[in-house]
């Protein structure tokens, strides 16, 4: 018998072990749901899978009686647009700031303290200010995500820039490169995959800011919907929505990971 620390599962058993907790969770849930529904068929806390299926059928495949929209898809589109725009702005700003503070001693002296201080402000505390300045529309939600994520990406990119061996910068100079060429040919191409990595890492916070902003002031979106139906205790809508948000987050992460692998074969 090997020591526990040396015992490794085979491929198949590793997969089985990975799936097991999900199966157990499903079983426990459906047992709980059955038990509660047996006592009270109108119980809303633990809806059955059939009830959730009905809810999704209603939300996703039947036009809303009030607006004629397919709410589920409308919510998904609005949320993804906000998240995408926010993350895109944050990534661009973060790259520019991080690259210049990481590579130019003058920019570091000028901006680094500011970025550090801004990154310490809790973004949600700024949300009221954003609502006052930009109104309750799309801009304030996108701005919240951008403001919340930019400092994190900027600091990460600054660190990654500083990690690029100075030998490379010196070498480029001995080959005659000017500052702009060092940026465009040596630093930027090496930072792009690291930027994608840091977008992947900050995406979780991005969802957090998105759902918070939607919960507080919005007329559609995944976050808006689950907070709206909370009033009617519609767990049959909330649970599939949470599952859908999780799936979207997983797919976005997978997409970025594959893009990194595909676009930057030299990056490990």
């Amino acid at each position: 018998m090997k020591r526990l620390i040396n015992a490794a599962p085979s491929r198949v058993s590793a997969m089985a072990l990975g799936i097991l907790p999900f199966v157990l969770l499903l079983i426990i849930y459906s047992m709980g749901s059955d038990a509660r529904l047996e006592v009270n068929p109108n119980d809303k806390l633990l809806p059955s899978f059939a009830q959730m299926g009905d809810a999704i059928q209603r939300m996703a495949f039947e036009p809303s009686k009030r607006t004629g929209e397919y709410l589920f898809w409308q919510d998904t589109l609005s949320s993804l647009t906000r998240l995408g725009m926010g993350m895109l702005i944050a990534a661009s700003l973060g790259l520019v700031i991080g690259l210049s503070t990481g590579a130019l001693p003058l920019a570091r002296a000028g901006f680094s303290p500011l970025v550090t201080v801004i990154s310490l402000v809790p973004p949600l505390a700024l949300l009221p200010i954003l609502f006052i300045v930009f109104g309750l529309g799309e801009v304030s939600k996108v701005a919240l995500i951008a403001i919340g994520i930019t400092p994190a990406i900027a600091r990460e990119i600054q660190r990654r820039t500083e990690e690029i061996p100075s030998e490379q910068i010196v070498k480029a100079q001995t080959l005659g490169a000017n500052t702009a060429q060092i940026f465009s040919r040596v630093l930027l191409p090496q930072l792009l995959p690291r930027l994608i990595d840091s977008v992947r890492l900050t995406m979780g916070s991005g969802w957090l800011f998105l759902i918070s902003a939607e919960a507080i002031a919005s007329t559609d979106g995944l976050g808006y919907r689950i907070f709206l139906v909370r009033r009617y205790m519609s767990m049959d809508v909330i649970l599939p929505y949470v599952f859908w948000i999780t799936l979207l987050a997983f797919l976005l992460d997978l997409l970025l990971r594959l893009a990194n692998k595909r676009l930057f074969p030299w990056y490990q």
Binding site: P165, E167, Q168, V170, K171, A172, Q173, T174, L175, G176, A177, N178, A180, Q181, S184, R185, V186, P189, Q190, F264, P265, W266, Y267, Q268
Partner: protein, 261 residues
């Protein structure tokens, strides 16, 4: 070509180099040896332009050496000398591109074709013709250093600086690299400065050998005195006595006298 006159380098109270003087002619192959922390790498950095002397003068053709690196002095470091995100061919091409003015230094049309030809010829010379489209992480340590050398040589710098370039390589590969460096040095009429830990290598490659060491020691304040060039010898003309004395001073085995001369 290079005149070094009474150069000192201090960091605060720490004296690294003191009263270093020498002059070097075009085409010499100078090897720099000495214990760790004796300032030989600092001296190389002064030639490179990333460090400046605290006092004294370091002249290249009568002008002070520029205080930042430029294309007159090529360098190969022990590692990280090549760009990991470019293929072998792109690494060498970049050397030509960086000579262009502009933001990206990319080459187009005729210039690109010309550079492509030169780059391929040089890569053939260093034995990398089969690896043109590989990335540096797919190469062995020796191949990476070959690439770094090719990249440094594409635009014919007058001076080539080597900072322990073979320190991380296996002995067998090292011998191949020695042949390569000697061949390129003659072919391209370079002036070479090479820092190394390995006396044998220094004797084998150099036409001139500098030993950096401290002349004066203060046991209570080891930083108070700096190192200087204690031996400056033409490798082809070393006498037996001098040779044995050096061996004692350095406490390091060096090749038998017969091999040197």
């Amino acid at each position: 070509m290079i005149a070094i006159d009474n150069v000192n380098k201090t960091y605060g109270d720490n004296v690294v180099l003191e009263r270093v003087s020498a002059s070097v002619q075009e085409g010499e192959f100078v090897t720099l040896v000495g214990a760790s922390g004796c300032g030989k790498s600092t001296f190389l950095k002064m030639l490179l332009g990333t460090e400046v002397p605290s006092s004294g003068s370091l002249l290249l053709d009568g002008e002070p050496i520029p205080n930042e690196p430029d294309s007159s002095r090529g360098i190969v470091f022990q590692q990280y000398s090549v760009f990991p995100h470019m293929t072998v061919l792109a690494n060498v091409l970049a050397a030509r591109g960086f000579l262009q003015p502009g933001i990206t230094g990319r080459l187009w049309g005729k210039k690109r074709a010309q550079a492509l030809g030169d780059a391929k010829a040089l890569l053939l010379e260093v034995g990398l013709e089969h690896a043109l489209n590989k990335y540096p992480h797919e190469l062995s340590g020796g191949m990476r250093q070959r690439l770094a050398i090719a990249q440094a040589l594409l635009d014919q710098p007058r001076i080539l600086l080597l900072d322990e370039p073979f320190g991380a390589l296996d002995p067998g590969i090292r011998a191949d690299m020695h042949k390569l460096v000697l061949r390129l040095w003659k072919q391209h009429r370079l002036t070479v400065f090479m820092v190394t830990h390995d006396l044998q290598e220094a004797f084998h490659l150099g036409t001139r050998l500098w030993v950096f060491d401290k002349i004066r020691h203060d046991p209570d304040a080891p930083q108070a005195w700096g190192a200087t060039i204690t031996y400056d010898l033409s490798v082809t003309e070393v006498g037996v006595d001098e040779y044995q004395k050096m061996q004692e001073d350095l406490g390091q085995p060096i090749p038998p006298f017969s091999l040197v001369s």
